[in-house]
Symmetry: C2
Subunit: 388 residues, 2 copies
Amino acid sequence: MTAEIISVGSELLTGTVVNTNAAFLAEQCVTSGFDCFYQTVVGDDKKRLEETVKTAEKRSDIIFVSGGLGQAEDDITMQTIKDMYPDASVVELENHNGSANGCILENQKKTVILLPGSPKELEPMFKEQVSVYLQEKTDMVIRSRTIKICGLDEKTINDSIKDLFDYNENVVLATYAKCGEVHIRVTAKAATEKEALKLTKYVVKELKHRFNQSIYTTHEETSLEQSCVDLLLANDLRISTMESCTGGMLAARLINVPGVSEVFKAGYVTYSNKAKRKVLGVKQSTLKKYSAVSEEVAREMAQGISLLTKADVTVSVTGLAGPDGGTKEKPVGLVYIGCNVKGKTVVEEYHFSGDRTHVREEAVVAALALLRKCVLEYFSEVTFGKKG
Amino acid sequence: MTAEIISVGSELLTGTVVNTNAAFLAEQCVTSGFDCFYQTVVGDDKKRLEETVKTAEKRSDIIFVSGGLGQAEDDITMQTIKDMYPDASVVELENHNGSANGCILENQKKTVILLPGSPKELEPMFKEQVSVYLQEKTDMVIRSRTIKICGLDEKTINDSIKDLFDYNENVVLATYAKCGEVHIRVTAKAATEKEALKLTKYVVKELKHRFNQSIYTTHEETSLEQSCVDLLLANDLRISTMESCTGGMLAARLINVPGVSEVFKAGYVTYSNKAKRKVLGVKQSTLKKYSAVSEEVAREMAQGISLLTKADVTVSVTGLAGPDGGTKEKPVGLVYIGCNVKGKTVVEEYHFSGDRTHVREEAVVAALALLRKCVLEYFSEVTFGKKG
């Protein structure tokens, strides 16, 4: 079945708002097993909206229309489309996060689904009501799983799963590259739920085998920081952070997780050398000999914060985010991340590209990935030691 | 003149990538004085792309097409469109940030502008080459100015500029609501640069008069954190931060600014009560009597960090970001922000709505706005005192 997405709103046509609804609906089409060849944005204008819907009707089975459902004078979507399909059966879609309800219009072979323009209203309405409807509409059962990977780049991942893309025509693999992360969505369609699950299960098993500990979760809703906090909680560990170039972004990311107070001891932002010495006791001699962006300083930061806060796990970040300050030996993008788990310190060197913001965002993800790796390795060694 | 935006790429049709290019180009159309009624997304498919361009050609003078210019097998945009316009004159657009050049095709009355799909390549190519071309094409001169406001909500702002929307048919006002900020873009078109500047000047003067110190900049490229750092630098002040619910986001935002080490002393993230006591000496009795989310604790945090780091300016944030932990007296979204400027401490109470992330983001912007306000007030009082 083919689907098509129409977004209505002058705020999209002026660039005031980025069209995240289209991306959301497109992803849902993939997950639902629909082919989607077009997305259109049109203003709150009766004639232009009518033409756009007519064009879509000729080439697609399901048309999603979002925006312009409110009570304002220029909200003409609902009336315009209801007038176009006077004989359609109507299923009301309740809005639990706003005032404008949506609806599904069915007219012989075509289905038009009207949704509110605010993502905060559209997304839950889709997940709670539309996906159930679409599921019933199709004679196939669709099941999907998401595997989230950190610490590996998209190319490496794509190269090692090439064969799986063609594994079965009823299984679709899609990779979504986020900053420092890659998510793989596995979607299978089959006649029964059992068969669909069997198809996804095989691929997920293969992915787990290939990417192993680089997979931080197989749950759609779990973020990297959540998986780190879960790991710390599970092992009864407390964490402290010490950041230079990331300037609090790592702590902020961990504190995204509700209930983090159980594991988060304290965070320090020591951007200047003076602060590194004063707050933490990083040695003047170390700073002078190796410079602030060095393996040695990252190590002293991770160890110093461990002594200062008595945390079981500490993470330190020091790097050159740019745009200035780079040299041939220490270029912009060079970042050292230190991680101390119960006295054992590891420091890794990274080279990130892009602007200041991008370097810092990559560094935060790398720090979370290193934290996971170090905690997992510490405990695998402990277990191994016990066995031996 | 009318313009239309076509974005080419399967990554948009699957929702893997959000279409920020369309928003960027749409904003450029507004700034350039073009009317834009449609945006379309289509895959890397010759037939569908041809049809989409043909439809656009019927209704628009200028067609922007982005994506699919590379050397990969499925990059068919350039060839498809050049085949459609064999007699068009071609202006090459150099790509200084990637390998695929763009081009401008002119065919009698229609203009098709081909741009790369990566925003990092498209945006500079547009700003450096396309905007100059478009400027020459139009017989009007377009000039625009941006006014950035913090600490006031969008409705208040829109209500107080209603009259300006109709001030002159050659002046367009557009408001862009960001988290905790509102930007007003004033765009004027006129026969000469002098006239266009005169038109914007009048409106900008009015806006300055109406919003006064809530305007933190009139420069397009200046961020709120940049304006705060500039203010601190100009007054030779050093800052330290102490964050609970924002967990480092405030420090991270300040450290977005290159060269911030001149003004940033240290940042502390004390999410738990224990950390608030240990790191800072917030009194156990204060925490017990008023709870961590209180005016009193925000005050002790701001004052404590001032004593600890000897910074001229300190900002503290404590609040309930949710989703749990709210009570009737202290609901989720309640945030206290303290600001100490050379010994004078102000604490403000805020009530934010939305999810955990949104509450925290609003709190960071409010903290920056309060920082600006307190520093400005401190110096206006000092000046006033001198006068008296």
